[in-house]
Amino acid sequence: MTFQLHAITTGTLELAQASSTAAAIHSFVDYIHIREKQRSARELLYWVEAFRKAGVPAEKIIVNDRLDVALAAGAGGVQLTESSVPLKQVRPFLRQLAAGCSVHEPAAVAHANEERADWILFGHIYDTASKPGRKPRGLETLQAAAYASRVPVIAIGGIKPHHIREVKAAGAKGVAVMSGIFASKDPAAAAASYQTAIKKEEINDMHIVVNGKSTPISLQELTIEELLASYSLQGKAVIVEINGHIVPKERLGLTTIQEGDRIEIVQFVGGG
């Protein structure tokens, strides 16, 4: 599953600007959360409808807290916080909606797992303007939360593109961003830069098995010849097998390596 990117409205924008931003960013994100705590249910309904009209796919629209709005407006899901009706009690009415939970303590993660939430928003990880006066939870608590969770844990709170690597390393399966995207001067560029950072980490995820050892490779479209060169074996007397098939010498430069390939290389050395 790819690393998720959630964008969350700030609660300070007017609908026209919010919906045009949503239209500009939706292709870069997995979900857009409408989190407008001051607005009425009817306003929230108009927001969902406006986003949809602006071209945002319905399944990407998540309504914070208001299950009734999500259902009536045909949104993709609901985000339940610690002030919302609990997921257990909401479940009979969800129909096709996705349901995310927001938690602030690693201990609450187990409960969200029991309730089979679709994701868990966990934070806040870094210094953020959203919750003035509160200390950031930090990567350690993120790691504790992610370790205990089968449900994907999405990190939130002051996350910038350069945080993606460490947040991922801590076990998060995605990030949620509020002012970093919706309050940005160029939200599309901002969303794109998060996506770029995510893709960069995905490339480092590519693993193949060489001679029984799991080996990360950082280049896509790598040929076997290039792999041999990385081991200083180019031009040497070797036999190469990929996924059980021997690669003829003339095809070494033409065969590209895929994620998960099992490669055996035996070099004919001559000493004794």
């Binding site: 001679n211 050892k213 036999i239 021997i246 035996v266 004919f268 050395v269 000493g271 004794g272």
Partner: protein, 337 residues
């Protein structure tokens, strides 16, 4: 259970199947020493060892049959090996031959000894390809083994069943890493010969279904293991093992008269025809050129033109401190005509 081979018999579930088996071991260096000791302890009936070199101080780090006195005495390896091996098992009949393992010498040995198995204890591909051709011509299995650094490779070659070395390697590989340039650790030797030795014990006991059918490579430092099935690699038109085989490596043109020895910074020069040297006469002659001439019963060593040379009775000369075959040839001709 007090019989010498009882532990082996328990494993094999068979009473000593090795007593009448004969192995021809080419090379008594790192690989050869380990293989020889393994098979002698296992109690094969006969072992013939051929090696062209003598024991050097730098061998002691990994060539398990030799000791410091052997190095001081500059004993030929085949002789030193036999001496040690007989101490280990006096029941094994051991022939030690100090000579170059060229096509004529090896063919003669094949005719004379009719071995059940050929073992690779060599350090160069030229000799391996000769062994490979002989294996096909005489229909005797052989086991390729090679090591350098922390890695080793091995493969069993059974005429008529598996691909041969020429199927696997269509050209003689260019000089690659040698023990001289890349070094070697003793465990790499032990690991390679463990693979070769196990296959030897299977073949000699007739356990054909248990033979490994893969080319295996292990790196003990990088902690990798690779094995590739060679079943699909037999070439229908192979010049060494097909129906139209011509055994190209047994012909005279393919033999070089000089060879650079692996790990020794040394060139060997062979005479164009068989020569037998009278070492004492040559020693006397050389003493005019240089005072540090030494002799044991098998060879003579001296320093000529700043290079240490060693002369064997069969006319071969080793030139130490040189990797230049032309220079070595010239020196040979200058000294011996």
């Amino acid at each position: 259970m007090n019989s010498r081979y009882s532990r082996q018999e328990l494993f094999l579930k068979e009473e000593h199947p090795y007593a009448n088996k004969h192995v021809l071991l080419v090379g008594a260096g790192a690989l050869g020493s380990a293989l020889a000791e393994m098979l002698v302890r296992a109690g094969i009936g006969q072992l013939t060892i051929i090696d062209r070199d003598y024991v050097d101080w730098t061998n002691l780090q990994r060539q398990q049959l030799y000791n410091e006195q052997d190095a001081r005495d500059s004993l030929p390896k085949a002789e030193a090996a036999k001496k040690r091996l007989q101490e280990i098992n006096s029941d094994v009949s051991i022939s030690a031959i100090t000579a170059d393992a060229g096509p004529q010498e090896l063919s003669a040995l094949m005719d004379e000894k009719c071995p059940d198995l050929l073992l690779d204890g060599t350090d160069n591909f030229e000799t391996r390809f000769i062994i490979n051709d002989l294996s096909q011509k005489y229909q005797v299995p052989w086991i390729y083994g090679a090591c350098v650094g922390s890695q080793g490779v091995s493969c069993v070659i059974v005429p008529g069943e598996t691909p041969c070395l020429a199927c696997l390697l269509d050209v003689l590989p260019a000089e690659g890493m040698t023990c001289d340039t890349a070094g070697i650790i003793a465990p790499a030797v032990q690991m390679t010969t463990a693979f070769q030795g196990a296959e030897a014990l299977k073949i000699l006991a007739g356990r054909w279904e248990d033979i490994r059918r893969e080319l295996v490579g292990v790196d003990l430092w990088k902690n990798t293991y690779s094995s590739i099935s060679t079943v699909s690699l037999k070439k229908a038109d192979c010049p060494s093992c097909s129906d139209t085989a011509v055994y190209p490596y047994l012909t005279e043109e393919n033999q070089t008269k000089t060879a650079v020895l692996c790990g020794r910074n040394t060139v060997q020069v062979r005479p164009p025809n068989n020569r037998a040297f009278n070492l004492p006469e040559i020693a006397a002659m050389l003493k005019q050129w240089d005072a540090s001439v030494k002799m044991n019963g098998f060879l003579l060593s001296a320093i000529v033109s700043g290079k240490r040379i060693v002369l064997f009775q069969d006319g071969r000369m080793l030139v130490h401190g040189s990797k230049d075959p032309e220079e070595a040839k010239k020196l040979y001709q200058r000294l011996l005509g």
